[in-house]
Every structure is written in C-alpha cells, then in structure tokens.
C-alpha cells in the first residue's frame, strides 16, 4: 500500500464521518429547538462552537445563517458540502483502490449535497436532506465493509473513521455540556433531561443508552456512557479501542500506540462523578490534544512528510 494512498483513504474516512456527524448534530439540534420554549434559539451559536471554526463565521446566530454555514458554505471547511467535496476528491485520487461502487456512491452523495444544499436551509427541506446524508454515509460504510478487501487500506479507513468519531463525540460533549440553555431554564428538570437526551440523540445513542445503562437520563450517566462505554460505537472509549486494535495489524505502529494507550488510560481512569463543568471541559481538551497527537504520529509513521503537511492544512483549515 502506497503511503500517499494510505493517507488518502484515512482522510476520506475522516471526511465521510465528519459529514455524517455534522448531519446528525444539526438534525438533533433542529429537533430540540422544536421542543424548547418559544424564542429560545441560542443553540445555533453552540453548534458553530462545536465545529471549532467559529472564527470563520461572520453571520448572525439565527437558524438560517447558521445552517447555511454548517451545511452549504464552501468557505467553511467543515460544512457538510465541503466534507463531501473533500471526501470525493480523496476518493477520486484513490479510485483505483476503492471498489467502484464506493466511488459511485460517494460521487452520488456529493452531487446530491451540491444540488440540494439550498433546499436543506428551509425547515421543511432540512430533515430529508440530513436524513439522506446520514443514510448515504452509512450506506458507503456498509459497502466498504462488504466489498473492500479487509487489508491495510481498510485498516486506515477504520482508523480514520474512529479517530474522527472520537474527536466529534468529544466536541459534542465539550460544547453541549456547557450552557446550552440559559440557567433559568436548565433548572427545570424537564429541560435538563431534554438537553441530555438531545446529546444522546445527536449520536444516535438514546436507545442504546437505555439498553446499556438502564437508568434514567442524567448528566453523569450520559457522560459515562459517551466517554467510557466499550460497546456503544460512538463512545470515545469504543472508538479509540477500535483505532488501537486496527493499528496492531500495521507495521511501525509503536509510537502511535503509545499515545493511544495514554488516551485510553485517561478515559478508563477518569472519575466522571468528580468532573464539574470546568473539569469536564479541560478533560475533553486533553483528549482532543491526544487525538491530534495520534494523527501526527500516524502521519510520521505512514503517510510521509508531504502528505502529512498537505492534509494538516486541510485539518486546520
């Protein structure tokens, strides 16, 4: 497997995952606003904070312009449209190694996103659009699992996907655990409940939380589930253990593994009950630094200096 190709597969997986996670996040927030008292829409600003590209945003914090930024903005490197365009560009570069069906599926969802992004900005058009993006991304993940050789290339796919997933989950926890809704309302138990439910739902984890935790929805248990669960695919611990397992089959993985082991120890050892708001946010920051280090070690070990430099800028952008 060529180093450059490995790097492209890894990035393709990250962008696909990012597009899917963005779609989930937007969808759940949009639904949450429907449940909250009228006139309460500070949620939209939080959404931009989650993506980490807030400094690029110049609009008002109203629904339409935030959605435009997150869905259809070409100048926002993490908008759904941009992610799909990057994923497609990466897929195009490695058309020879991914199954043809996958290329066609990625090309199709990109074309769909491009043609329908404007529609998604309306209340009525939003859900079908986001649903399509999520299910197409799942579809692609499915064809990849079912048709691609489970070789080194597939390993990089899993590594990219899970690292991105861990990162997105940490961002969601980071931002959403903060002052999502003004204090006055948070004090009302129902809203608190709603808020945590929406966090779970943005990760499609509500049902699985119920099954796994068997307790009512409350902050500490939700956090435990999202950070430490070994069985929920979008939990940070699960995603990172996938990265760890996948890397074992690759040569030259020692340095990246060291970083991952450290992250996994941090996740296992943290006492969630003791994490107040600030500590929780610090902890998420720590994890994100770890994810970035993992990314760098992967770049050094597999993707070659040049690829790393090129893709870092995509990441930072």
């Amino acid at each position: 497997m060529l180093s450059r190709v490995a790097g492209n597969i890894y990035w393709m997986a990250r962008y696909l995952e990012r597009a899917e996670d963005m779609a989930r996040l937007i969808n759940v927030n949009a639904n949450l606003t429907l449940d909250l008292p009228k006139g309460l829409s500070p949620i939209w600003g939080q959404l931009i904070a989650i993506t980490g590209v807030g400094e690029l945003y110049e609009g008002e914090f109203d629904e339409r312009s935030v959605l435009k930024f997150l869905i259809a903005e070409n100048n926002n490197p993490v908008s759904i449209l941009s992610c799909m365009a990057y994923a497609r560009e990466n897929a195009r570069t490695i058309r020879d190694v991914i199954p043809r069906e996958v290329w066609e599926a990625i090309n199709r969802v990109y074309l769909y996103a491009k043609d329908h992004a404007q529609q998604a900005l309306t209340k009525r058009g939003r859900y079908p659009f986001l649903f399509e993006i999520i299910s197409e991304c799942q579809h692609i993940t499915g064809i990849l699992a079912g048709t691609m050789n489970h070789d080194a290339g597939y390993t990089f796919l899993k590594v990219g996907r899970n690292l991105e997933r861990a990162d997105m989950t940490s961002r969601i926890i980071d931002t959403r655990s903060a002052n999502l809704v003004p204090d006055a309302i948070v004090t009302k138990a129902t809203n608190d409940n709603l808020q945590w439910m929406s966090v779970l739902k943005s990760l499609t984890g509500y049902q699985m939380y119920r099954r796994e935790m068997q307790v009512r929805i409350q902050r500490q248990e939700v956090l435990k589930f999202l950070i430490q669960s070994k069985v929920f695919p979008r939990a940070i611990a699960h995603a990172m253990s996938e990265v760890e397992k996948a890397l074992e089959s690759l040569p030259n993985h020692e340095k990246a593994q060291l970083v991952i082991h450290r992250i996994n120890r941090q996740i296992d050892n943290v006492e969630i009950a003791k994490l107040k708001q600030t500590e929780l946010q610090n902890f998420m920051d720590q994890l994100q630094v770890g994810f970035a280090q993992t990314h760098e070690e992967l770049g050094v070990a597999y993707f070659g200096g040049q690829v790393s430099a090129q893709t870092q800028s995509q990441d930072a952008a």
């Binding site: 060529l2 180093s3 190709v5 195009r92 020879d96 066609e104 074309l111 040569p251 597999y302």
Partner: protein
C-alpha cells in the same frame, strides 16, 4: 414513432448505418428496426438514463479552462451505436497489427544501426530535426524489441467507403477507458438489445494490457510489480489512469511515490517501506519523466528513472523515445516502412500526405491551401491545424508563413469527407461526422481492441471530434454476422 429512417437527412457522404438509398446497411438492420420501433419518449428516456449513468459512474474528462484551473465534465455520449461487421473489422485488425509491427521495427532501427536511413528509404535530415528523437535512447534494447507498447491509431472513412489511417499515437495515447465505459453504459441502458446480436466483447482489454506490461518485466521469474504512473488528478486523462490501474489491480502512482536508489532500481514508498517496481506504464510525457535526464524543472517525474531504465532494471511503457514515430512527417513513410521491414504491401492505406519539406510538395501545398488540411508534425488534440475549405484568407496567409519558416514541421492532406452516423440531437436523428481510435498492444504478442473509441463531432457539419473541443462519443459494435 421512433426513428423514421426515410426522413434521415444525410449528406452525400458515406453513412455508417444508412446506405445511399436511405436503407439500413445489412449489419445495421436489426439495430435500425429496433430504433424505429421505439417510442419517442422511450428514446428520450434511454438518453437521459445513459446521461444519469455517466454522471453517477463519474465518467468524466477534464478540460482546462482559461483561468488556469481545470474542471471535470461529464463524458458526452450518444446512445446510437456505430456498427461494423466482423468481416470488415478483421481487415482493419490485420492492417493495424502490420502497421504497429513495422513502426516498432522502425523505432528500434532508428536507435541502432539506422539501416533504413543508410538504404535511403528514410531521409536522414528528418531525424536530426525530430522533436521526439531522444539521443539518450541510442543503443537501448527494450524487451522483445518493442518500443511502442500501447498505440492508438486514428481511423477515418472517406466517402469512397475506404478506411484510412489518419495518424498513429505512440506517446501516451488516451481514450481506451471511455471505449470500455461506453460499453458499460450501453449494457445498463440497452440491456435488451444485446441479446439480438452477436456483439464482440471489449472488456478483456485491461487483462491484455496487464499481460503486455508484465511481459516486459526485468525479473520475469517473479510476480512482476506493475504500476501506472500519472501526473495526478489535474491531468485531463486522470480518470483513465485511475480506471486502468483499478482494472489491472495495479498501484496508481505519482512521481513523488517513486524513488530511484543507489542500486539504480525503482522503488515505491509504501507503508511497509520501499518496494521494488518492475514495470511502469507511464502516462507522463518523455520530457517530464526524469528531471535528471530531461526537463530539470519537472516535478511529475522521478529523479534517476532513465538511469534505472538504461540499466535494464525497470521497463517503461511506452519506451522513452518511441515518440520519434509519433510524428506526422514520419507517418508519411509508414507504407515504405512496411515494405522495407516486412516485405509486405500495406493493408490499411495512409491518407495521401504532402510533405512540405519536399520542394514539389510544398509548392503544391502553398498553392492549394484552400483544399487541404495542414497539420504541424507534433501536435495532438486537433490543435494548430488549418482546415483549408473552412479557413479565412488571413488564416491561410498565416499558415503560408509558418510553412515557409519551418517546412519540416508541416504536412498537408486532402480534406477527407469523413463518414457520418446517425446521432440523437434534440430528439431528432441527424448525421454527424466521426472517426475511430482502436488501441494496439505489443510486447511478446500483438493485440488489437475489438473496434475502438468512436468519437463524434457533435456540432453540425463539424469535423473536429476531440472531446477537448466539444466532441462526443458512441459505443462501437463489431458484429459477428455469422455467429
């Protein structure tokens, strides 16, 4: 309603489907009947289905726009296939094999004893002014004596019904992926039609290409590591590079993925470290291959690649220097080459060609510019041509100056009346000019594609079929009428 062939207006030329009396040719009868029986809506539906398939399959070609960027366009495609009988194709097939064999012997001779020059069959001073002659290649012995492993020859049919070879592309000819994809689209769209004919398949090309390349390996005992070298995603033929690599199961590499080490062998950078490469199907022009040997500014190539090739540690297809025969002036000598090297008569004729370097020819050309097509020796893609009958006085004056200034660089040919084929335009069937590019593979054996890439000039009356200039394409059906 479908297509009413009696209303099909074709000029007084050769039409591939319909004869001079407005009746379908024998080989096209079944197809014509099918198309006549189709409802208009069905035709339109098939057309849009094919367009959607092309869009979804991501069959694109890249055009450079003037602002220096490049854009991907959907591959323009017409659903009415071009048909030809196997009997007629067999002659073309034999003619192409003969031609490529002679061309390869010529190239090998040119880089060795130059017997053909000594025997005064080929003029010596033509070589000294050849843009694609590479002195670095003198004395090199590529496997099987073959230099042009992949050749794309352009064929046209004149109003006399005869098929002529218009040119041979021996550097990095492209288009074969579209030939294969056109068939895939037709199979998706016209699945029910395929049962009614014996249409010869085309899809063994990638495996033939792999075998052709593998036969060049300097380490024949091992499973050869074959790679496709591309300039990258911004190249106009990137789609094809990726397609062929995928179909052959080879790595698609860029220059930066390869390295030549102190042992003069080529390696690719993989996640496991360096891996030796045996055969490179390079889709990068000679002059960009190796900054050490050629253009020092090239970032597309691999430093030391020529060194590795000259030492015999890696095979390059096409071999550097093969382009010496990809020259429209050299083309004029192919009939002589066939006689000289093979002692055979040419099976497929050349288009009559005037060489401006010859005094008599040049005089004739300059006084008949209005009737002739003038071409520079080493351009491709239809650039830099003068089409006499459609030119302005000013253009002709400009070309007369160009010819006088550098006669070696120009040839002229009579304007051919390219044949036409029915093409669906705005719901109606109209004749459009076309040509065809078959691909010929040579190493230990010679293989010719079944048919070729048929290119259509989509604009009415236009003779320019290049996709970079608005041309389209059709599937090409070689039909075995006896099967």
């Amino acid at each position: 309603m479908g297509i009413q062939w009696k209303d099909y207006k074709y000029p007084e030329l050769y039409d591939e489907l319909i004869d001079g009396k407005g009746k379908p040719r024998k080989v096209a009868e079944t197809l014509a009947r099918h198309m006549a029986e189709m409802e208009d809506e069905e035709l339109e539906r098939l057309k849009s289905t094919s367009e959607l398939a092309i869009k979804e399959m991501g069959i694109t070609f890249t055009v450079y726009d003037q602002e220096g960027g490049s854009i991907d366009r959907q591959w323009p495609f017409d659903i009415i296939p071009r048909v030809m009988s196997k009997k007629e194709w067999d002659v073309v097939d034999a003619g192409l094999k003969q031609r490529v064999k002679a061309l390869n012997m010529f190239i090998d001779d040119i880089y060795h004893d130059q017997k053909i020059v000594k025997d005064k069959v080929f003029p010596k001073d033509l070589l000294s002014k050849s843009k694609n002659f590479r002195k670095q290649c003198i004395g090199v012995n590529p496997a099987h004596g073959v230099w042009a492993h992949i050749c794309g020859s352009d064929l046209v049919r004149h109003s006399d019904g005869q098929i002529y070879v218009l040119e041979d592309n021996l550097r990095v000819p492209s288009g074969v992926s579209y030939l294969l994809e056109n068939r895939q689209v037709m199979k998706r769209v016209f699945a029910d039609l395929f049962g009614d004919f014996s249409i010869l398949p085309v899809d063994d090309y990638p495996s033939q290409l792999f075998d052709t390349l593998a036969a060049l390996s300097p380490r024949p005992a091992d499973y050869p590591q074959v790679v496709v070298l591309t300039p990258g995603i911004y190249n106009s033929a990137y789609f094809e590079h990726a397609y062929l690599a995928q179909q052959m199961g080879c790595e698609l590499v860029e220059g930066t993925d390869l390295v030549v080490t102190d042992d003069d062998c080529v390696y690719m950078k993989t996640i496991y470290g360096l891996e030796r490469v045996d055969v490179i199907y390079r889709r990068v022009d000679d002059l960009f291959l190796d900054p050490e040997a050629f253009n020092p500014d090239s970032v597309l190539g691999v430093r030391g690649l020529m060194r590795a090739w000259l030492k015999g540690n890696v095979a390059l297809a096409n071999a550097p220097g093969a382009g010496v025969a990809d020259d429209k002036v050299v083309y004029a000598f192919v009939p002589d080459m066939i006689k000289y090297y093979l002692s055979e008569e040419m099976i497929l004729p050349n288009v009559p060609t005037y060489l401006c370097m010859k005094d008599d020819d040049r005089k004739y050309v300059l006084s008949h510019l209005e009737e002739l097509v003038v071409k520079p020796a080493n351009e491709s893609g239809g650039y830099g041509m003068l089409v006499g009958p459609r030119s302005t006085k000013k253009e002709r004056e400009k070309f007369a100056e160009l010819i006088e200034a550098d006669p070696r660089n120009y040839i002229a040919q009579p304007t051919l009346n390219l044949s036409t084929a029915p093409t669906l335009v705005d719901g109606k069937v109209e004749p459009r000019h076309l040509d065809m590019r078959p691909f010929i593979l040579s190493s230990d054996q010679i293989y010719v594609t079944t048919g070729g890439l048929t290119r259509v000039a989509l604009r009415k009356g236009s003779l320019v079929v290049n996709s970079s200039q608005g041309g389209g394409s059709k599937d090409t059906w070689i039909i075995d009428e006896e099967a």
